[in-house]
């Protein structure tokens, strides 16, 4: 199929439609509102359910209800709205019903602003509200990747009875890029509905979906079942991308759009003579810790770049387990780190390392004067 130019938010909505999403519930918030608006236009045309909720609390619980019926459903929001959804997400995860959620992150904390950010990394990969709830979290770096992730998210959510999150940022949501849209899939038939779905107890015993379990032992068993599913995900679904790691003695680690910006930085730094590679986690939960651990044994130093104060950094440190020094470069509040400044950071990382005395000639692109590294830069 020919490529078309799609805006990220709308492309994800269309991908969901083609994947057979049956219901969408959401609440407007920049920079994801185009996704909701696209659904408002297209869902009714295809006889599916679009509903603008009264709030994100409403949206996530409508989603919860729809999911309990074994219906393919989805919502989307951005950081403050996502915070409001965490109680519901914890219930959904605890009840083991599949939902798909798109989070187009913006600058925080608080109201912050509407610029791109990666400040929800922790809340999407770690806590997802209270308890040990975890989602399968994909971090797209291009509109095409976002489309493919959304398209596959429903199957994965159903397979593992879990929450699947597409964790993008304002750039992914607002950017237009050429996209090859996947084909439209036929809707689920009644027989294809899962055997736990609430569809009315006709000719069978009633089904119950709940996250409540009053005894500690009972709730522990439920948690063990959930943890077993998550272990399956960890086994099967870890994904990442590497670029120029084969000969690298320095490693950039970045996810989402920062990952793609690092590709440009990589080219600049390589031109400047640094043997740098890129490791881009595609699933940020589960985090590709094993492979990163291996790579850490090969390089002299690691630079983590994020649009936050150092969140994935913690996963990187845990995975690296001391095999290489880990530095951090973070931009905050919606400032997007650009290739030249990242390349500068690579250079200063290299300079700071004990290493083998090798010091590359600075013959590449010089860029402009490096911006002062943010105060969030941590050792």
């Amino acid at each position: 199929m020919a490529k078309e130019l799609w805006k990220g938010n709308e492309a994800m909505a269309e991908a969901a439609l083609r994947a057979g999403v049956e219901a969408y519930f959401g609440y407007p918030i920049t920079p994801q509102t185009e996704l909701l608006e696209y659904m408002a236009r297209e869902m009714p045309k295809r006889g599916r359910v679009f509903l603008q909720a009264e709030s994100e609390l409403g949206a996530i619980n409508m989603l919860y209800g729809a999911a309990c019926g074994g219906v393919r459903c989805m919502s989307s929001s951005s950081s403050p709205g996502i915070s409001l959804m965490t109680e519901g997400l914890s219930y959904i995860a605890g009840t083991e019903v599949p939902v798909v959620l798109v989070d187009i992150m913006r600058g925080g904390p608080g109201l912050g602003n509407i610029q791109p950010s990666q400040g929800d990394y922790f809340q999407m990969t770690k806590s997802l509200g209270h308890g040990d709830a975890n989602a399968l979290v994909f971090a797209p770096s291009s509109v095409q990747e976002a489309v493919d992730m959304v398209y596959n998210a429903f199957d994965l959510a159903e397979k593992y009875r879990c929450v699947v999150v597409i964790l993008g940022d304002g750039m992914i949501g607002q950017m237009m890029e050429p996209v090859e849209m996947p084909p439209e899939r036929p809707p689920l038939t009644e027989e294809q509905r899962p055997d736990w779905a609430l569809r009315g107890a006709k000719g069978r015993p009633p089904r119950i979906l709940t996250s409540l379990n009053l005894t500690a032992e009972g709730l522990e068993r439920a948690n063990q079942r959930i943890q077993a599913r998550l272990a399956e995900i960890r086994k099967n679904e870890v994904r990442w991308e590497e670029e120029m790691t084969a000969d690298a003695d320095l490693l950039l680690v970045a996810f989402g759009t920062v990952g793609r910006i690092c590709k440009s930085a990589l080219r600049l730094a390589r031109q400047a003579g640094y043997r740098v590679g890129l490791f881009r986690p595609i699933t940020v939960w589960p985090f590709p810790e094993q492979r990163l651990h291996e790579l850490a044994g090969q390089v002299r130093g690691i630079l983590v770049v994020e649009m936050n104060a150092g969140q994935m950094l913690l996963d990187v440190k845990a995975a690296v387990a001391g095999r290489a020094p880990v530095r951090f470069y973070g931009r905050l509040g919606g400032v997007v780190p650009l290739p030249d400044e990242i390349a500068e950071q690579v250079a200063s990382l290299a300079a700071s390392l004990p290493g083998d005395g090798y010091r590359p000639a600075r013959n590449g692109h010089q860029g402009v004067a490096p911006v002062v590294a943010s105060a969030a830069v941590k050792a």
């Binding site: 130019l5 610029q115 950017m175 050429p178 690092c262 440009s264 650009l338 402009v368």
Partner: protein
């Protein structure tokens, strides 16, 4: 080839659409492209701009700090971007609205009387014979394409045909004309380098 273009103007001046046309054309010619708007409350009455990257390689950053070319459709845009264009880069500005000179001397600068050209071209088809400035964006896009060769003018024309919203179809011809008029400007008046 790796070009990073910012098109900037008042909310209604169509900077975003001009950028999309450019991105479509790039895509048609097999390049890697990204288009990203500024978004948010500043759109309310303020300026709007978009960044288009067209490249032989996959695009890393869709945002740029130092574009290789800028189209400034109004004065605030010139104020904001003049200092940011790469050395030896291209700066096109709407001389119908901007009277001040350009200070940088290391740029290729092309003033385009975009509003005036637009008024002329729109007047031809308007009912009352009065033109307006709505095609200033396409005029300057013509200039950009002609001056840089990022894409071919015909590809932009095709993009216009394909993507001009149905309800604006009667404006197709004036758009095409505006595009060509803009392209001609390059020949006419290259002011500084």
């Amino acid at each position: 080839m790796h070009e990073e273009i910012i098109i900037s103007g008042f909310g209604g001046q169509g900077a975003l659409f001009a950028g999309q046309l450019l991105a479509y054309a790039g895509m048609e010619e097999g390049k890697h492209v990204t288009w990203i708007p500024s978004y948010g409350p500043e759109m309310r009455g303020g300026t709007a701009h978009c960044t288009v990257v067209i490249s032989d390689d996959p695009v890393g950053s869709p945002l740029v700090r130092h574009p290789s070319a800028v189209i400034a459709l109004n004065l605030p845009s010139l104020d904001k971007y003049e200092g940011l264009v790469k050395p030896r880069g291209l700066l096109i500005y709407n001389s119908s609205l901007i009277q001040r000179p350009v200070y940088r001397t290391d740029l290729r600068v092309i003033p385009v009387p975009a509003n005036d050209i637009s008024v002329e071209e729109t007047a031809r088809v308007s009912e009352n014979g009065m033109g307006d400035a709505r095609l200033a964006n396409v005029v300057t896009l013509g200039t950009l394409v002609q001056a840089t060769g990022i894409v071919r003018l015909e590809t932009v024309e095709a993009a216009l045909r394909a993507h001009l919203p149905q309800r604006h179809l009667r404006w197709l011809e004036p758009n095409l004309a505006a595009l060509r008029r803009g392209a001609l400007v390059v020949a006419e008046r290259v002011v500084a380098y």
